[in-house]
Amino acid sequence: MTAPSGRRPSAGALLAVAVYAFLYAPLIVLVAFSFNRARLAARWEGFTLEWYAVALRDQHVLAALRNSVIIALATTVLATAAGTAAALAFHRLRLRAQGTWDALVVVPLVLPEIVLAASLVLLFAAMGLRLGFFTVVLAHVAFSLSYAIVVVRARLAGFDRSLEEAAMDLGASPLRTLRHVTLPLIAPGILAAALLVFSVSIDDYVVTSFVAGVGATTLPLHIYSMVRSGLSPEINADSTVLLTATVLLLFAAWRLEQGRRPRQVAVPMGLGLSLLGAPFLLAPVPLTGADRQLNVYIWSNYIAPETVRRFEQRHHVRVNVDVYDSNEALIAKMQSGNVDYDVICPSTYTVQSLVAQGLLRALDFSALPHLSNVDPRFLGRRHDPGNRYSVPYFWGTTGIAYRQSRVGTVDSWGALWDARFRGRILMLDDARETLGAALKWKGLSVNTTDPASLALAQRALVAQRPLVRAYNSSNFEDVLLSGDVWLAQGWNGQFARAMAQDADIHYVVPREGSMLFLDSLAVPRGAPHPALAHAFLDYVMEAEVAAEICRTMQYSTPNRAALALLPASIRDNPAIFPSADVVARTEIIEDIGAATVLYDRLWTEVKTSR
């Protein structure tokens, strides 16, 4: 007997629905939450267009988006043209050992991207190319060329060679045969290749982060860099716009392929292109007539656009702000030796590492009169005695933020090991910070290299693991705000912003002591504009400028003179400016040299323990 059809969906239909749900659920969530009033992605708090407004105003994100679009378009044109030409050549020349040549085309597709990225950096350095826009485009063409060749070749496989013969027989020269017969017939393949290249280029992170230089920060780089100061739902808005533009262009391309005239697809095509073009209109226009430039390499959201704009006007220069997402990325970029940054923002232990490698330029104090504004507590620390290479920019503490109504008052690292809060604890995803917390709890130094002390700390973290809801260094304050966790280890600046939204949240630097971080500004040895770089360093140490930065970023400024210019709400906030005795209990995380490997191994073992 056969089952009556049309009654119950077949297993195949259910499977198909499941597959589509799997494919599209993340996109639907993304679009929906771009309209979510809540700052955190986890909870729906009502409809808003606020994030679109924020995205429209965020000049750094707009500039990054503009860079991404330019790079993706340039890559698409170059890689698709070269890929089509190569595919045609392969198709026509019946080469000896064709299989080998085909395999060589496919190899870059399966090569780990990191390998390609590292080799491209080496190649560019050997060729003497300065890292920048051009190198990003070259790198993107290099890794997307294979995609283009493979896609166009697939289309050519079904191509009837006699059509070209017919064209030539009817009087078309080889060039006109290409234009009037071959290209129109493989156009769908070329279009597919172009779309694929565009999409792999616009969302590439790994290769881009290695080869990007001055003025070439793309949207993915920017988003990754935002984890330092906290991700914002405006990224959802940006992504939704990008998605809409792509869908519109795909729709137009599909209609064209169906044989519609260009005029009939003008509306979706025009809308899609204008969405992609929006960042060109909205992103900051470079100061015209600027004859000099300054290249700043810093975390995202570490400097306000207005601060930069005023410096540009005062010195009549153009400032390029590019962003990185980890100290390690900064070090790698400095080591490559072919990048033109004038000002960088390393953390303490990174300063030590860069000095040890001779990658920083000794500062000229005669050009830094405002250094006198800086609190002496932050000068002459162990990572840079005498501040020969760096001046303090931001500082902050690691501590615990908690929901008082749930856990009462907390003053010890021990709270993070309290079994009552099982599943309600969040730890940073960082070897030095987590081992540091355990070391401090046990009364040890966060810079210890003693294996026995470290083993003790590791055992504590392994024991803690069942209690931990998540290891998260990017939006830990959001998770706390959402109520998913009650206790979170994290940095004070982000917690200060969370506290402004929810009075139930409190921040404490545990009584056992904690970690102090200090991000400094420094000038790379190869900086092309050292005089301007000094001017910039001095500028951000001016009281008004330092106060403005502090107001915007809500991280503690080491600038004594700026304190008087800050509103009481910030100055008296213990989460932003902890008391002197709290600061006295802190330790700066230093470069521990070879022991870094040991820290990383111990941390990996904690995360993979059962």
Partner: protein, 360 residues
């Protein structure tokens, strides 16, 4: 003038180790309908493609209208081709396909439209110009391919098995159409086919090719009636081919003794007494118990009914003969003893270049 004349002079072509065309020389007269006939792989298509410059010869010269075009690329040769699988441009309409060559020649739009219309009219496709190619039937596509090629008024029209993809009925219709097109245009046609009926029906002259060489050429009737080689005879359905020794070779009265002892008389010229030869007889030149100097006793083995005729296989000693008889040949049945008869004029002398018939 010589417009439309084709001269091939010692043309050769090989693909890797496979020789496709071996030192072929051929003259095609202006306005002639010439057919290259042969089995697949005989080199006929390669020869045609060399005239179109879609292949280039390794040696030899090619002249069109008495001009050496050996080194001209395809788009500079005043020839056009009708391809085996039509090769119509799928991204263009019917009219767009026909107009392609005119557009490439830079013809003005005002000139182009009426010419395309006339060409479509010529192949009875008026009013179909705006159709898409994939909406057409096989026969219609074939006509578009014809129109597309003739609209340029080529000096020579090349047709590469243009009807092989059509079914039998359409093929017969198209045959008449091609013939009439040739009559109306007066252009030189070089036509490639493996279908002997098509070749005989259409051509002024047939060139039978085998293994890259010209085996025999001549008017259809001559090729049909007097095949000179064993290959041509077999290809043109001479079914009864036997080897034997020439007993006596008097002009008009040669006697050949076949391998299995039959004594057959022939009026064909060229026999030499004592030589080893192939001889052949068409099935339709044989009959049962009729007149004829050749008489062979045999037994009916089985019958193939072919509509207008029947073909009997007849066992005659060690040989198996094929005899064709008009109608249903009612009244005979397998096992009957018969005498197969045929005229001495029906016995063909066949040679096989490069090989001698087997010794008994």
């Amino acid at each position: 003038m010589g417009r439309g004349a084709v001269s091939l002079r010692g043309v050769s072509k090989s693909f890797g180790t496979v020789v496709a065309v071996r030192d072929v020389s051929l003259e095609v007269a202006p306005g002639e309908f010439l057919t290259l006939l042969g089995p697949s792989g005989c080199g006929k298509t390669t020869l045609l493609r060399m005239i179109a410059a879609l292949e280039s010869p390794e040696s030899g010269r090619i002249l069109l209208s008495q001009r050496d075009v050996t080194d001209d690329p395809p788009h500079r040769r005043p020839v056009n081709t009708v391809f085996q699988h039509y090769a119509l441009f799928p991204h263009r309409t019917v009219a767009g396909n026909v107009a392609f060559g005119l557009e490439m020649a830079g013809r003005a739009r005002a000139d182009l439209v009426p010419r395309v219309e006339r060409a479509l009219e010529m192949v009875r496709l008026s009013g179909m110009g705006s159709r898409r190619v994939d909406q057409l039937s096989g026969g219609q596509r074939q006509r578009v391919a014809l129109a597309r090629a003739v609209v340029l008024e080529p000096e020579v029209l090349l047709l590469d098995e243009p009807m092989s993809a059509l079914d039998r009925k359409l093929r017969e219709e198209m045959r008449a159409e091609v013939k009439s097109l040739h009559r109306r245009l007066g252009t030189t046609f070089v036509f490639v086919t493996h279908d002997q009926e098509e070749a005989l029906a259409l051509s002024d002259r047939v060139v039978v090719m085998n293994d890259g060489r010209i085996e025999q050429m001549g008017p259809p009737a001559e090729i049909y009636d007097v095949p000179r080689t064993r290959f041509v005879a077999e290809f043109l359905a001479v079914r009864n081919i036997l080897s034997g020794d020439v007993q006596s070779a008097e002009v008009g009265a040669t006697v050949v003794r076949t391998e299995n002892g039959l004594m057959l008389r022939s009026r064909a010229a060229g026999f030499v007494a004592g030589e080893r030869v192939w001889v052949g007889v068409r099935p339709e030149r044989m009959g049962f118990d009729g007149a004829g100097e050749n008489r062979v006793a045999g037994v009916l083995e089985d019958r193939l009914f072919l509509g207008d005729r029947s073909e009997w296989r007849v066992r005659a000693g060690a040989d198996l003969l094929t005899v064709s008889e008009p109608g249903t040949s009612a009244g005979r049945q397998a096992g009957d003893a018969v005498t197969v008869t045929f005229e001495a004029s029906a016995l063909l002398r066949l040679v096989e270049p490069g090989r001698r018939p087997p010794r008994p």
